[in-house]
Symmetry: C2
Subunit: 166 residues, 2 copies
DNA sequence: GTTTGTTGCTTCGGATTCGAAGCATCTGTG
DNA sequence: CACAGATGCTTCGAATCCGAAGCAACAAAC
């Protein structure tokens, strides 16, 4: 099956494990802070943050899902939840009746603003405090390249719905 | 509330976002591979891998949970699942009747072996292929330090159950 | 203008997850 | 030894999550 008997050296393994561990721990702490400060899950926060950064404060569902690496059905669930709380609105797109446009509301921006300082504090304390400037730059560089690579890579034996095969 | 009005520069933000994104994307792909190759979730794989690396192939529940950054109740659920499939055994610890010792079985090791090549292939392709040796070393160094820092840090306003306060 | 295929989202069912509460076992103190 | 507290794990209920299936709107081919 797999023709890759190559094994990893301790540095590679360590880098991999550390990546998983760090992101898990960070996510955990952030999740807690967001829950307490504004009753938001991490996903919900990410969605609001993305919408808040958008020029017109809105996105299509699919783009949001891809952005935060999330399933479509999961996004539907969270979007409904956010809509009920009045933090976003949903409406069919003008140019394409199929797609739903999600937009952040004033209330959504308020929650975002309320939660942000604590969020920054957590990041500062957990992520940046122990690092030198050069470390942050290294992460930015290496992880940025990784992200681009992963985004570009096809979903691994998943996309073959193209071409008419025969 | 939060006395940290400091904001982040683009490099810091980029590093943070890239970290989250990379770990999400990686996790996603790995999860898929594990599911197909051995019908394992990522957590289950992590548990088996940890047990497989242990000198005596066993751990206490709590240590496992802490190791993979997981809730205790969640671990109970997965441990039961793995036990039913015969991949691990569970038994009360000899020296402490309260604690449960989880041990990997031969069958567990088989599944691990069956799944491993594909796992390595995914990592190689997604994580290591686009990186120079120096990049891997940088990740190892910086993320390793981060992990230590996060592990050491108290769970953020959560631990105050120590000392008799008054 | 149909027919066929694609795309965007939702619904559905089931699996996974967590925190709180519950139960046992240990560990100190007197 | 009896007791309060700590510790280790499980059970419970509710929230969250995903993939598969379904539905509606588009697009392409004829």
């Amino acid at each position: 099956m797999a023709d890759t008997p190559r094994s990893f050296d301790p540095t590679e393994l360590g880098a991999y494990f550390a990546l998983i561990e760090v992101s898990s721990l960070l996510r955990h702490t952030v999740e807690q802070q967001l829950r307490e400060a504004g009753d938001l899950s991490y996903v919900q926060f990410q969605l609001l943050a993305r919408l808040g950064n958008s020029p017109d404060g809105s996105y299509r569902m699919t783009d949001l899902a891809d952005g935060v690496v999330y399933s479509r059905s999961g996004l539907t669930y969270q979007a409904q939840s956010l809509e009920q709380r009045g933090l976003v609105t949903r409406a069919p797109s003008p140019d394409d009746e199929r797609s739903t446009t999600v937009a952040i509301t004033e209330q959504g921006r308020d929650v975002l603003a309320k939660v942000f300082p604590g969020h920054i504090a957590v990041l500062d304390e957990l992520l940046f405090e122990p690092l030198e400037r050069a470390d942050v730059e290294a992460l930015f560089d290496v992880l940025g390249r990784l992200r681009d690579h992963m985004r570009a890579a096809p979903p691994r034996s998943a996309a073959p719905r193209r071409r008419k095969t025969s």
